[in-house]
């Protein structure tokens, strides 16, 4: 049983966002870097209720749209869609399994990046140049996600005595 409250979720998203904007470039491996904000959206989609998952997706997308150089609104649409879809299929998954978490994150990241590139190409922007980085970024994000999900599960887990 997990109890994810809105203030804690949004605070975590804010911290991840700040880390991404300030420090994460230094954590790059061969030009690839993990997407912490995306990881958190996946986590909330898997473990939180539908409303909070979509709110987390919308908030993350909005923040990314505001501070990044890409087309405005693309992150919002993609991340909120990821949150909605993943939250829908989450009850069918064994969420505590690292394998399930890893596969969910990787698949969501690859589909989201592909969608971003596809939308960008409709707008006349370059499609092919960024495609080669989707898989390395997805792998790195997945590895980091599986690691931080364990800590987050502990953080949000409600102790058994509280359930009784």
């Amino acid at each position: 049983m997990y109890k994810i409250t809105r203030p804690r979720a949004f605070l975590l998203l804010g911290c991840a966002f700040l880390i991404h904007m300030t420090l994460l470039d230094r954590a790059g491996l061969f030009g690839s870097k993990p997407d912490l904000v995306f990881s958190l959206v996946v986590f909330f989609s898997l473990f939180a209720n539908r409303r909070l998952a979509i709110e987390a997706g919308v908030l993350s997308g909005l923040l990314k749209d505001i501070f990044s150089s890409g087309r405005f609104g693309l992150h919002l649409v993609i991340l909120s869609s990821v949150a909605a879809v993943l939250n829908k299929i989450a009850p069918r998954l064994y969420r505590e399994s690292k394998f399930a978490q890893g596969v969910s994150t990787a698949a969501a990241y690859i589909l989201a990046s592909g969608a971003y590139r596809a939308f960008a190409s409709f707008e006349g922007l370059s499609l092919s140049s960024g495609m080669g980085w989707i898989i390395p970024d997805a792998v790195y994000t997945t590895v980091v996600s599986v690691l931080i999900f364990q800590g987050l599960m502990e953080y949000f887990r409600v102790a058994d005595r509280l359930l009784l």
Binding site: M21, F67, S113, G130
Partner: protein, 258 residues
Amino acid sequence: MYGSRIKIAVFFIIGLVILLTATKPAIFTSNRIAIVDAAAPGLKFLKGASSFIKRLIPFASYRDEIERLRSKTGLLSQEVLRLKEAELENARLKNLLNFRTALRLSAIPAQVIGRDPSNWSNSIIIDKGRDQAIRPNMAVISSLGLVGRVIEAGRYSSKILLITDPNSKVGVILEKTRQGGILVGRRAGSCRMIYISLDTDVTPGEKVFTAGYGGVFPKDLVAGEVISSGKEPGRLYKYAIVKTSCDFSRLEEVFCIK
């Protein structure tokens, strides 16, 4: 009465000496070092004697002195670290200042205050905006070379599209052959130079400069150097992979060119 006169005379002489030294008359300035030289052996002897006497003083008070010095050493070690950091910063800023002086273009210095929060685009945020005369499409460089261009200018901050962003395109030329092409971003500190004609000899290590077409980027700014090249499959052009001259993940200061 006699004593007070002597005191007045001593003060008068000291005052006169200070006054004369301060106004630096020729007789003092030219001969002062000669007087110091003449007095040097005597001064050296006195220094040696005082050191010898200090060594003979009993060691009773040394324990407290050691404790005091130990704590002082700790503080000084921290101070040394702080000063080393300041020295590094000083060297970096001096380098930037020299670069700015060497740069003939009018440049506005700015600090990088944020990175792109998305993995799908490459940009940075700087602490200067319209109030500091930053305008969209201004070229942005660092002391190492081309960084990108301003895409959005707020009042106090601006967004810079890096040349490694897949949507960035810059007109460039090769150093040796002066053959032109387009530099397209491909992340990870490298770009792809496309539209190089097939008969052009592209050698690894060759520098790539901005061509100056289009009016955004001034001519002859270093963009990077070629690390490899090849033929575009199914096309009549060559391409070259160009390593950018800047490490964008460690970029701290940039210049916006007017």
